[in-house]
């Protein structure tokens, strides 16, 4: 039997002017199990709270009802008050007689009557309240960053800086990501490698950071604070700890016809390779699809020339098991495949390139040594056409993306500007639909391209590119001058839309995080929680969440790190005790609840039950992980047997409220 205390607040005159607080208190005092009632001017004041504490002590109250303002206002206050008096904070219920009564009604009799009913409903509920303990779970003080691009690098560095261990899992042989392929960065035109590679070195030298390069996440279990991750380290056929990165093997390898993916296939590499000079870790990797030794067993040159004895043709994929408190997704982006854009002749002419390929063609470490040459005949191009929005901003019915890829306007301005600066004899045309330059110093940058560098910006989409006699005929309309242009170009550069990395979708499934229809990860709140996923403990960094440029990526990466540090700084996580709970005796194991859970908090176990006649039956039953459950209650309605209930908002509590109101 509960011993309930009722406290009616006047809220100055806010409540008392329209509600007869004395009458409310007295009437509610007559309700069953109510052993104490009181009304006071400001229940939330220290004086008011002391009244509650004293009453709890004096009358041995087991539950209290406060008739006051909205629980969104002071529920937490009164819960703390109860706790101070030694009462479980979840034995407090609030009847909202201010926002939902005194403030919206004018007639005192009506408002008083309603206040009494609301009080009754709260009393009915508190009758059925049970003390709840917020579950505690320890936090593993280690973070996992998936993806070693600039987003992952920045997040890892910031987390490590706060003193926590970080592991980076990168699927390529080196970290660095897309930024390592870029030549210069807008709007300052500083060299990308010059600002990125020191960070990569920082990562390599940081004792708190461990890099799993050439590795992938294979499985994720667990929940916030306690993720259990399996990392697959792909066989690179080189012992990472022995390789000194001297490069002798890569020079001597006889297999030289391997398309160089770092240069986007614009040149070739050897079957054993180090992607680029500043790679981290600087370790060679053998491409098993091309290595003669691995394919036919005949060669072994690299093994012979390796002074460190690092080559191991028998290396196998290896699975590493590791615990983490937080996981950061930084899987980045890729330009879309342009196979469906044949009107731009991408597959017909090597001189039609994507912007990323153009970056490699202008990069000093690229296939042309930084001299801008056409891929087809290695001649200097004199007319270059840039086409914007290839595959972006489409209706979604075709093969393109509905969103704006955001970075193309700026990098195209950069390309155009750099080309004109280095090769003033080149005519540069940029065909645009809109030029979008929101960002610090961005529009100024674009205007400089037009005004100082004489780049021809033409509003209108290119309709057709056709290779003719070693040239590229570009047909486009100039919408502002209302004429059709035919430009004989030497090089056409397509600003391909960017899309999330294909590894993101299976990863989202493993992490039980949500994605939008474009496979970008969905943030917990588009405005207020932009770096967290809806799944606790999973954070988002960089382009996996949406198209971003480098400054934005880095600031999001640091924001993400701040959130991770905030989580890892805690020794224990205190959960929300109002979570779902499954009654094993009633559970059918039918999986209905699991399907509606947005957090993947429900799993199933086979459990033995003692049955009549000393028999034992094994049944599949649902198990809610209270650390993951957020307490929405979707499962409680999906459950046909009523085995699933929500603490703090149980079926019987809500029905008691219904009964009290409808009486």
């Amino acid at each position: 039997m509960q011993r309930i205390g009722v406290f009616v607040c006047w809220c100055g005159s806010n409540i008392a002017a329209t509600v007869d607080v004395k009458k409310v208190a007295e009437t509610l005092g007559k309700e069953p199990c109510v052993v104490y009632y009181e009304n006071y001017q400001y229940m939330c004041s220290e004086e008011g709270q002391n009244k509650i504490i004293n009453a709890i002590h004096e009358h041995k109250l087991s539950g209290i009802v406060i008739c006051s303002c909205s629980p969104r206002m002071h529920e937490a206050t009164f819960r703390r008050t109860a706790q101070k008096a030694g009462l479980n904070p979840y034995m407090v219920e609030i009847a909202n007689i201010r926002e939902q009564c005194s403030w919206i009604h004018k007639d005192m009799a009506t408002a008083t009557e309603k206040a009494i009913i609301l009080g009754r409903a709260a009393i009915a509920k508190v009758h059925l309240n049970t003390p709840l303990q917020a579950g505690e779970s320890p936090v593993v003080k280690r973070a996992l960053v998936i993806g070693g691009g600039i987003a992952g690098i920045q997040t890892a560095l910031d987390i490590a800086d706060a003193g926590f261990e970080v592991d980076i899992v990168e699927k390529k042989p080196t970290i660095g990501g897309k930024m390592s392929q870029i030549d210069k960065t807008f709007p300052t035109l500083d060299c990308s490698a010059c600002i990125l590679t020191p960070k990569m070195v920082d990562v390599a030298q940081n004792e708190k950071i461990h890099i799993y390069s050439y590795s992938e996440v294979a499985a994720v279990k667990g929940f916030v604070g306690n993720f259990d991750v399996t990392i697959k380290r792909k066989a690179r056929y080189v012992k990472e700890e022995l390789c000194t990165g001297c490069g002798a093997c890569t020079e001597k390898c006889p297999q030289k016809k391997v398309p160089n993916d770092f240069n986007l296939g614009l040149d070739n590499k050897h079957a054993i390779y180090i992607p680029f000079a500043q790679a981290v870790p600087k370790v060679a990797t053998i491409d098993p699809d091309y290595c003669m030794m691995l394919k036919t067993g005949k060669c072994g040159v690299c093994s012979k020339v390796c002074a460190a004895g690092a080559i191991d043709y028998k290396q196998q994929d290896e699975l590493v098991q590791q615990q983490y408190g937080a996981i950061v997704v930084a899987t980045g982006y890729n330009p879309i495949d342009l196979k469906n854009y044949d009107e731009f002749a991408y597959s017909q002419s090597p001189d039609v390139v994507t912007s990323l390929e153009f970056e490699r063609l202008t990069n000093a470490a690229g296939p042309t040594g930084g001299v801008l040459l056409r891929p087809s005949d290695r001649q200097h191009p004199h007319t270059i056409v840039f086409v914007q929005c290839v595959g972006s901003r489409e209706s979604g019915e075709g093969c393109g993306k509905t969103y704006c890829s955001k970075i193309c306007c700026m990098y195209t301005a950069k390309h155009a500007m750099l080309t004109r600066e280095k090769y003033p004899d080149t005519e540069v045309y940029v065909f645009y639909i809109d030029v979008r330059t929101p960002g610090k110093n961005f529009d100024e940058f674009y205007r400089r391209a037009v005004e100082e560098y004489g780049v021809h910006y033409i509003k209108g989409m290119v309709g057709k590119v056709s290779p003719e006699n070693g040239k590229l005929m570009v047909q486009a309309s100039d919408l502002l001058d209302n004429k059709q242009l035919k430009i004989e170009a030497d090089l056409v550069v397509l600003a391909a839309a960017i899309e999330p990395d294909p590894s993101a979708r299976p990863l989202a499934t493993m992490l039980t995080t949500q994605m939008d229809t474009n496979d970008f990860f969905t943030e917990a709140h588009p405005k207020l929680r932009p770096v967290e996923s809806a799944t606790a403990g999973i954070f988002l960094s960089g382009c996996c969440q949406g198209p971003k440029d480098i400054p934005e990526t880095v600031s999001q990466a640091s924001a993400c790190a701040a959130k991770v540090i905030g989580l890892l700084a805690k020794d224990k996580l205190l959960g929300n005790p109002c979570v779902a709970e499954s009654n094993e005796l009633m559970c059918n194991g039918c999986s209905s609840c699991e399907k509606v859970c947005p957090y993947g908090a429900i799993s199933y176990v086979d459990k033995e039950f003692k049955m009549p006649n000393r028999t034992i039956a094994v049944r599949r039953v649902a198990n809610v992980n209270p650390a993951v459950c957020q307490g929405c209650g979707a499962c409680t309605v999906a459950c046909p047997s009523g085995a699933m209930d929500l603490k703090g908002f149980s079926n019987s509590q809500i029905m008691a409220e219904v009964d009290a109101i409808c009486k």
């Binding site: 009633m586 059918n588 039918c590 209905s592 399907k595 509606v596 199933y604 599949r620 999906a638 046909p640």
Partner: protein, 323 residues
């Protein structure tokens, strides 16, 4: 057909492929067929039947039977396979403990419909193709089988077996049925007419729970109506509301999981057309969220555990005219 199935039952048992066989045998009356678990060949030879009264759907029995030691063989009519697969999908039946034999069905007969034809004192019914020969204490009579089919068989939705280990006879197809005709007719009534219709039907309910007990979707370890903690436990209907509440909640609990097997209406001693409530949900689900047949496969998400961001709003009910 009875002999073929009987021989199969004997073969399964004697070859050791199954330790028990779930089949039909005669109950109190020849038309009152009940499910039975056979464990020896002799019993099968004597008692096993398969005829036009073998309505009972065995799927639900497998929830308990598949948890016992050894393997159980079961005979499933096309519509039974849907219930069977739905229960597999809900992890209620352990698949590897069951040997499922799909058997053909050309409709089950409703004894009440024969009686409605003023045929009294029935002592036996034999099938002769399209015609039923009926022995009565007043002599022999004949009726066309199609005239006395159970409602659910008149509106048979599928002759296809969706899951089995072995199939006797040929595979059938999913049929175009007129099963929603009556639902549509009720929808077309006025609100007051609908209320009167259901008041008349549901007020006959004696809360015997037969519909729940036979329903292959109602396999809860503990039914909410038997659970004092659920707040809706009732042993008997005290007034007209509780009948409605019972049937609404029951229909809602099986919505999206009901395969429309029609067992609820078959067993109702008061002849309440309970299947109409389930069909109403099925029809709504099909209209609002796209065609869905519970038990048709193992993969598709049940409509109530799924959503589309552009689903219709509940206010669609208001704009559906007077339904």
């Amino acid at each position: 057909m009875q002999e073929v199935i009987k021989q199969k039952a004997i073969e399964l048992l004697s070859s050791g492929k199954a330790d028990r066989v779930l089949g039909w045998k005669e109950g109190e009356f020849f038309y009152d067929i009940t499910p039975a678990v056979f464990t020896d060949v002799k019993e099968i030879e004597e008692k096993f039947v398969y005829n036009a009264f073998c309505g009972p759907n065995f799927s639900k029995y497998l929830v308990a039977e598949s948890r016992k030691d050894g393997k159980i063989a079961v005979f499933l009519k096309p519509c039974d396979t849907y219930s069977f697969q739905q229960l597999l999908k809900e992890h209620r039946i352990l698949r590897d403990k069951v040997y499922a034999v799909g058997i053909p069905c050309d409709g089950m007969v409703d004894i009440e419909k024969i009686r409605q034809k003023k045929i009294k004192g029935i002592t036996g019914v034999t099938e002769a193709g399209e015609v039923l020969q009926i022995d009565t204490i007043y002599g022999k009579k004949e009726v066309a089988k199609k005239d006395v089919l159970a409602e659910r068989c008149e509106n048979c939705k599928s002759k296809k077996h969706v899951v089995y280990d072995e199939l006797i006879g040929e595979e059938g197809d999913v049929l175009d049925s007129h099963r929603f005709d009556l639902v549509e007719k009720i929808e077309a009534m006025s609100e007051e007419e609908r209320f009167a219709f259901w008041q008349n039907e549901l007020s006959r309910c004696i809360r015997c729970n037969a519909c729940r007990n036979v329903c292959p979707a109602c396999t809860c370890e503990k039914c909410v109506f038997d659970n004092p903690a659920s707040g809706i436990d009732q042993k008997a209907a005290a007034d007209s509301f509780e009948e409605k509440m019972f049937h609404i909640i029951r229909a809602f609990h099986v919505a999206g999981r009901c395969t429309d097997c029609g067992e609820c209406s078959r067993v109702c001693p008061q002849n309440i057309p309970l299947h109409l409530l389930n069909r109403k949900f099925i029809k709504d689900i099909n209209e609002f969220y796209g065609e869905y047949q519970a038990g048709a496969d193992m993969e598709t998400r049940a409509p109530l555990t799924d959503y589309q961001t552009d689903d219709c709003e509940p206010s669609v009910i208001l704009t559906k005219g007077d339904q």
